[in-house]
């Protein structure tokens, strides 16, 4: 099941694409697994079939899924590892929000960095190097 918020400013196709990509990257969707058809996805999520088709097209271009004509859409046997700039791009909005919040609240840059380091320590892991 996917969670789509139609009232959000983020387009539905972006929400769905992010969630699918996340599940492929985290291994929840296994390599080579069959994905629901555009029709089924549209029915299940109550969305326009064009939106579902667009998401598969984008993921196919990025190499996360592959469409076998007349058979269906599958998770790629070897999904791509996201390039560093793509990862940065995904993190950028969260960073913007964090920095803007810190500026408004008058929290100094060093303190923000300390908070982030502390969070990483508590998660007990370092950012993974590609």
């Amino acid at each position: 099941m996917f969670f789509l918020d139609a009232n959000s400013g983020i387009p539905l196709y972006v929400q769905l694409q992010q969630q699918l990509r996340q599940r492929i990257l985290s291994g929840q969707l296994q390599h080579g697994a069959q994905l629901p058809s555009v029709r089924d996805l549209s029915e299940e999520l109550h969305i326009n079939p064009l939106t579902a088709a667009k998401v598969y097209q984008i993921l196919e271009r990025e190499g996360f899924v592959e469409t076998r004509r007349g058979i269906g859409t599958y998770v790629s046997p070897q999904p791509p590892v996201l390039r560093m700039d793509a990862r940065r791009q995904q993190l950028a909005p969260a960073v913007d929000q964090l920095v803007a919040g810190a500026v408004h609240l008058g929290v100094a840059e060093g303190e923000v960095q300390a908070l982030i380091s502390d969070k990483f320590r508590r998660l007990n892991r370092k950012p993974q190097v590609p």
Partner: protein, 293 residues
């Protein structure tokens, strides 16, 4: 783009000397679900009635599936589904009587579909239309519009008077129709969350003119509300060119603008030596920003 199933070009229409539609042009491609938005009195119903061949434009061209809807013969008209915003004709007829009549009128009428739909929505075939609830009357009009499996479907406020569950079901039936026969749908509504789910294109009508007509995704991707603040050399005066709306409060300027054309927020901030922050707008915000005078 004369092959677009719904095509309106340079259309104007006034009533008693009051211009309701001014130089309207819209083109909707096959298989699209077009959400037609506008405030009360913006001209949505007039536009839909012109497409249905019920109102003639004073000027300009209206084409549905390549034909002038005002001159369509019975056969072509069969392929055009229309649900009016108003209550239905024949209020004293029974549901079953109306269905039987339509079955004989439309060669493509799908009786099994019509029966399945009235059962699904809990409409008794033996009730007189006038005794159905407001919501059931709307749904029955909707069923009559979709059961002939039209290639172009015009829905004027299909969701009005429906409870949340029925509204979702109606939207699902519209989607089902699209999946099954790839027809083209134009629907007007005030309920923006409906549009977000099912529409792939939207038009916003304000004062008889189309403010935008484009894919919903591109609209959300390209319109931002940007606040410029901390001007080091004083705030610029006058309207910001290319913006939809400009609000000034104190030393701040908040601009609703496109970021896919014209100067970017970064470029403007640099030009004015100030800071800026941008906010993503949802459809409701965009609608309000674009519909205000």
């Amino acid at each position: 783009m004369s092959e677009a199933p719904i095509h309106i070009q340079d259309v104007s229409r006034s009533f008693n000397g009051v211009a309701v539609i001014k130089d309207l042009s819209v083109s909707i491609k096959t298989g699209s679900i077009y959400g037609f938005l506008g405030r009360n009195g913006a001209g949505k119903t007039t536009t839909i009635r012109m497409l249905a061949g019920l109102t003639r434009p004073d000027q300009g061209t209206v084409r549905v599936s390549g034909s002038d809807p005002f001159l369509m013969g019975a056969e072509e008209r069969q392929r055009l589904g229309y649900m009016s915003e108003k209550a239905m004709t024949m209020p004293f007829a029974r549901v079953r009587t109306v269905l039987n009549l339509c079955r004989r009128l439309y060669p493509n009428w799908n009786p099994a579909l019509a029966d399945a739909l009235i059962a699904k929505y809990g409409i008794s075939p033996w009730k007189r239309l006038t005794l159905l609830s407001q919501g059931s009357q709307r749904i029955f009009s909707f069923i009559l519009a979709i059961a002939p499996r039209p290639s172009v479907l015009l829905l004027d406020e299909p969701a009005a008077n429906l409870d949340v569950v029925a509204r979702r079901e109606v939207l699902d039936d519209i989607l089902e129709l699209i999946r099954e026969c790839g027809c083209t749908v134009l629907f007007s509504t005030h309920i923006l969350s409906d549009v977000e789910r099912v529409a792939d294109e939207i038009g916003i009508l304000a004062n008889g003119k189309l403010r935008v007509s484009e894919p919903l995704d591109s609209l959300k991707d390209s319109i931002r509300q940007v606040r410029f603040f901390g001007f080091r050399g004083g705030a610029p005066s006058g309207d910001i060119p290319g913006s939809y709306r400009t609000i000034r409060s104190g030393d701040d300027i908040t601009v609703t603008m496109r970021i896919d054309s014209g100067p970017s927020p970064e470029a403007l901030a640099e030009r004015w030596s100030c800071e800026h922050e941008a906010r993503v707008l949802n459809l409701e915000d965009i609608f309000v920003e674009l519909s205000r005078n």
